[in-house]
């Protein structure tokens, strides 16, 4: 049976493929404004490259920069396809950015960002494993998508 028959196609929207297994729900949690849209989730689908993967298809949803960045942190191998009129018009690999804003939390308990109502901002100083440096207190935080971030 072909994959397309298992998971139905969408006409307009976004397909996020090659999500790290068991991370689809986490990815879904970072996508804003999807409550009225049709969302198809496939968990533990077969993958030639990674053995298993998760897939998300969302009708009428196109990712914003912040969502792209957070997706890359959760699942760096994910691919993002933009679908218009049932055709893929653009396909990108998730790419961990060099700088992120408004994602994660500085794990330094003495950092000002944990006390003021501001977006935390980080430089990505290492991409494997992902290590974020808070631009305010300069403390390094290891980003672990499915757990609490750990201070190094």
């Amino acid at each position: 049976m072909k994959k397309e028959q298992k998971i139905r196609k969408i006409i307009n929207g976004t397909v996020i493929d090659h999500i790290k297994p068991d991370c689809a729900i986490k990815v879904l949690s970072i996508l804003g404004n999807i409550k009225d849209e049709c969302v198809i989730i496939c968990i533990n689908a077969k993958s030639k490259k990674y053995k298993k993967k998760d897939i998300i298809k969302i009708e009428n949803k196109f990712l914003k920069e912040k969502e792209y960045n957070e997706l890359a942190l959760i699942s760096p191998n994910a691919t993002i396809s933009i679908i218009k009129n049932s055709k893929i018009i653009q396909k990108n690999n998730a790419k961990i950015p060099d700088f992120i804003k408004g994602i994660g939390k500085c794990r330094n308990p003495r950092c000002i960002t944990n006390y003021e109502q501001i977006d935390p901002e980080f430089m990505v100083v290492c991409k494997k494993p992902i290590i974020l440096k808070c631009i305010y207190c300069e403390c390094n935080t290891k980003y672990i998508a499915d757990k609490e971030e750990k201070i190094l």
Partner: protein, 308 residues
């Protein structure tokens, strides 16, 4: 002139070597003016706001003295409990308010990164007067000035940083500056209080060399300067851990008797028990002179940052 481009001073790495040299030269001029008892009026009509959310003696008073010596005025608070911070006002709101009352702000705050956040929301210059255990750049400038006066150079020296290198903000800033000027730095601390990797990573491309040891007696004979710091009680979460580490390094007559004659002992002060007052009259102990240099150095910083 590049030196006119110092907008904010939140970290010592805001400054280039040339800018640091310029500040030290200017500090020397200010010291000569202070020694000659002349008065200056170059900051007449200017206001410095000293926002001290955390206790201070030397930094606050030397900033205030510096502004008065330049002919300017000072406003501010010495205790967060007398400001609206006590009512829950955010730091950013405080800064947005005070920037309309003053020409320059110096800020001390117990949280790390606070001065950088303040600078982001402030249209007038911000000077970091200590942000938690992070940095204290103006202390470093007066430390460098002290070394310059005593050793006639700030390069190619062997300098020991001793004590609480984990939470000691003065050593975090000083390490970067010493490395920038190509010094050999020996970090002397218990394993639990070592210099954070984030600070060591910052100086990877600088010229200085760093060594690490726990044993002060083993290295004291090799040093030109020993910079000792107190264990930062207020930064510890566990009182038990503080008590366990306190008193690890104590300078007294016995250790000074084996120390080189040309070694200088520096300390950012306040001290607790790491320097026995019995050695205060030893000519190698220069920490009170170091504290005095806070005035000419901060006069220089104020003049440069106010672009006078």
């Amino acid at each position: 002139m590049v030196l006119k481009q110092i907008t904010h001073l939140t970290s010592i790495d805001n400054l280039t070597k040339e800018q640091i040299n310029f500040i030290l030269d200017k500090s020397k001029q200010m010291l000569n003016i202070l020694n000659s008892k002349k008065t200056l009026n170059i900051c007449k009509g200017k206001i410095l706001a000293c926002l001290f959310f955390e206790a201070s003696t030397r930094t606050r008073l030397s900033f205030e003295a510096a502004m008065h010596r330049l002919g300017g005025n000072v406003i501010g608070f010495a205790d967060a409990s007398t400001s609206s911070a006590k009512k829950g006002e955010s730091l950013t709101d405080t800064i947005k308010t005070v920037q309309n009352y003053a020409d320059i702000i110096c800020i001390r705050h117990p949280l790390e990164g606070s001065s950088k956040l303040a600078a982001k929301y402030c249209k007038i210059p911000i000077i970091n007067a200590g942000d938690g255990g992070h940095e204290h750049p103006t202390q470093t400038l007066m430390d460098l000035f002290t070394i310059m006066i005593k050793k006639n150079t700030i390069s190619n020296l062997k300098i020991g940083l001793c004590g609480d290198l984990k939470f000691g903000r003065t050593t975090h800033s000083l390490l970067q500056a010493l490395a920038l000027f190509g010094n050999e730095i020996i970090c002397i601390s218990p394993e639990e209080l070592r210099m954070p990797n984030e600070i060591k990573d910052k100086i990877q491309n600088y010229g200085g060399k760093i060594f690490q040891t726990e044993n002060l007696n083993e290295v004291i004979n090799k040093l030109d300067i020993l910079y000792i710091t107190r264990i930062q009680k207020e930064r510890f979460i566990s009182e038990k851990e503080y008590l366990r580490l306190k008193g690890r390094y104590i300078l007294d007559k016995k250790i000074m008797s084996i120390a080189p004659k040309n070694l200088f002992i520096m300390h950012p002060l306040p001290r607790v028990d790491e320097i026995n007052p019995e050695i205060d009259n030893d000519k190698r102990c220069i920490y009170f002179q170091q504290a005095f240099f806070g005035v000419p150095v901060r006069m220089a910083i104020l003049e440069i940052m106010l672009k006078i």
